[in-house]
């Protein structure tokens, strides 16, 4: 009995020690100031989402060092093409960070035909345009969020005006929702734990944390 207790305490303490000396957690290295334009057709359907991301100076300088093949400390067109191809390929897996929801249900977006990369004032710019897969009518509550589910990139919409609607019907109203991460965590703790047990590898927290533009329009038949 005596030995058993000691052993248990010992094994537990060693296990705790080892877990605590394990690898450090995630590091979001990258920030991007973003702008989103939602383009709406006259028939109240969404034509496309236009994204502009301006990356922070630190990340931009590593991109410059990495892709500057000819060593002139500038990114020319061919080098920028490499940058955009690389990002384009990687983002496919993450739906280009777009989360579009209609009345709480996901609406699929088509991948953008291409990505544009540019370098302005020491900062990397990424631009692209993505269309809804199915016609997406502004009816009820439609929300548009941009978020990196891996937390590697923090997409920031500094001002509410950086999420804009072009051609918004007069009877719709728009709000920008910025969830407070800590509050969102507290509110969703139960859901998150359930989600883990139901689907350990699956869903992400993007929907909870993403800054999103919410359009509320009268329901249409």
């Amino acid at each position: 009995m005596h030995v058993r207790t000691r052993t248990t305490i010992l094994a537990a303490s060693i296990a705790v020690l080892l877990v605590s000396t394990g690898p450090a957690s995630v590091h979001p290295h990258v920030f991007a100031e973003a702008r989103l334009d939602v383009l709406v057709n006259p028939d109240r359907t969404v034509r496309s989402l236009r994204h502009v991301w301006r990356f922070d100076d630190l990340f931009s300088s590593t991109v410059l060092m990495e892709f500057d093949k000819n060593g002139d400390l500038k990114l020319d067109d061919a080098e920028l093409k490499d940058v955009s191809d690389t990002v384009y390929e990687s983002l496919a897996e993450f739906g280009y960070f777009q989360i579009v929801m209609v009345d709480g249900k996901d609406a699929a977006m088509n991948p953008p035909p291409k990505l544009m990369a540019n370098f302005e004032q020491d900062q990397l710019l990424i631009l692209f345009e993505s269309e809804p897969r199915e016609p997406l009518k502004l009816s009820g509550k439609v929300s548009f969020g941009v978020y990196d589910p891996t937390f590697y990139t923090a997409i920031d919409f500094i001002e509410d005006d950086n999420m804009a609607v072009d051609g918004m019907p007069a009877d719709c109203s728009r709000t920008v929702i910025r969830p407070d991460p800590e509050e969102a965590l507290a509110q969703n703790q139960g859901t998150l734990t359930d989600a883990f047990f139901n689907d350990p590898t699956g869903t992400d927290m993007s929907k909870i944390f993403a800054t999103r533009l919410e359009l509320t329009c009268p329901a249409q038949g």
């Binding site: 000691r6 052993t7 305490i9 010992l10 094994a11 537990a12 060693i14 296990a15 705790v16 020690l17 080892l18 605590s20 000396t21 394990g22 690898p23 450090a24 957690s25 995630v26 590091h27 979001p28 290295h29 990258v30 920030f31 100076d57 990340f59 300088s61 590593t62 060092m65 990495e66 500057d68 000819n70 060593g71 002139d72 400390l73 690389t86 990002v87 390929e89 990687s90 983002l91 960070f97 020491d122 589910p149 891996t150 937390f151 590697y152 990139t153 923090a154 991460p181 965590l185 703790q189 998150l192 734990t193 989600a195 883990f196 689907d199 350990p200 699956g202 869903t203 992400d204 927290m205």
Partner: protein, 367 residues
């Protein structure tokens, strides 16, 4: 019961480490395809909330660091803000994906190393890491720019070498720790009890270079002296000129041996090299920005500050590891259980280093 004790502890060691390693190795490539996300978190899960909280804090911290770098570009007087933040970064971030702290802690678990040496090892390896980052960036920026060697290539190359060294180092430790015991267990020497093996093990470490029998002392006097001169770096528990009185004719555990230094510079240096060869990505990012903007002094100082911070954290963890080990051994008593636990911790620590190297190497070769 006692026989299972060691196995239980060992299983706990391996399982704990394997779990933490595998869970973080899931996504090495970042979502943007540029740069590596050092580790990723479970987006949902029992610890999702805590991890998310840590994530938010780190995000805020990166923002501050980015801000400080930009401020320094505008005004050189802002350099100290950057240096301070880098120091804090080192403390919290502690050697990238954590192989540094894991290797040093495991090394200290596997060896009888005095705490102050553990602290010194942490500092030396952190500064080597900083030096690697500075040397690599200088080379890339001034010499290799425009060649096909990019930062990603170079980092990857150093990383693979570093992990390979970690693995080899672990294999060596494991071999050194496990063979005497296995030999004793399979009955090569029936009188070779575990406690004697324990003492003998350390005896081999400490005195291998001058294990002279008293009878042979006269005929080998010259040899002894040169040997000793060569040797007293290792042996701080007896002063220069004295002869190790217990060497060669005592198998009883000498208290000085157990509590003191059995410090082997060769193995220690290989631990330091294995850790220090892989530059920390935070340091590389700061240096890239600093060099591109001509902020040479600020960049280098900030990386050195990071190294100090990292060394402090790694030291603290190493101290925790050794304290826990000592506590566990004394808790289990002096008898056979104590020896077994001691053995299990040592072999477990060595196995851990090996496993860590293997996992990291596979992950970075397959990336």
């Amino acid at each position: 019961m006692n026989r299972t004790t060691g196995r239980l502890v060992f299983a706990a060691l391996v399982a704990g480490c394997a779990l933490t390693q595998f869970s973080s190795m899931a996504h090495a490539q970042s979502s943007l395809g540029i740069g590596t996300s050092e580790a990723t978190i479970p987006s949902t899960g029992l610890f999702g909330g805590l991890m998310m909280w840590i994530n938010i804090q780190q995000q805020a911290f990166y923002r501050a660091l980015t801000g400080a770098l930009k401020a320094m570009r505008q005004d050189g007087g802002q350099m100290w803000l950057l240096v301070g933040l880098s120091f804090a970064y080192g403390i919290f971030h502690a050697a990238g994906p954590g192989h540094g702290k894991a290797v040093i802690s495991s090394y200290m678990l596997a060896n009888e190393v005095a705490l102050r040496r553990g602290i010194m090892l942490s500092f030396v390896s952190a500064f080597l890491q900083a030096a690697t980052a500075i040397a690599m960036m200088t080379l890339l920026f001034l010499v290799l720019r425009g060649t096909s060697i990019t930062m990603t290539n170079a980092t990857w190359f150093l990383e693979v070498i570093s992990y390979l060294l970690v693995m080899l180092f672990g294999a060596y430790l494991l071999w050194q720790k496990a063979t005497p015991r296995i030999r004793g267990m399979i009955g090569a020497n029936p009188a070779y009890s575990l406690s004697a093996a324990h003492a003998h093990d350390h005896h081999d470490h400490a005195c291998v270079h001058h294990s002279h029998e008293p009878a042979g002392e006269d005929s080998h006097a010259g040899h002894d002296h040169s040997d000793h001169a060569h040797d007293h770096h290792h042996h701080h528990h007896h002063g220069p000129g004295t002869v190790c009185s217990t060497c060669g004719h005592s198998h009883a555990p000498d208290p000085a041996m157990i509590s003191g230094d059995h410090f082997n510079w060769k193995t220690a240096w290989s631990a330091v090299a294995a850790v220090g060869l892989r530059p920390c990505s935070g340091a590389l990012i700061v240096l890239t920005f600093a060099f591109l903007n001509g902020l040479w002094v600020g960049g280098v100082l900030s990386v050195l500050a990071m190294a100090v911070g990292t060394a402090i954290t790694v030291s603290a963890l190493a101290i925790m590891a050794v304290t826990a080990k000592n506590w566990a051994v004394s808790f289990a008593g002096d008898g056979r259980a104590g020896n077994r636990i001691h053995a299990a911790i040592e072999i477990g620590g060595a196995g851990l280093v090996f496993l860590l190297g293997l996992l990291l190497l596979t992950a970075s070769l397959s990336a």
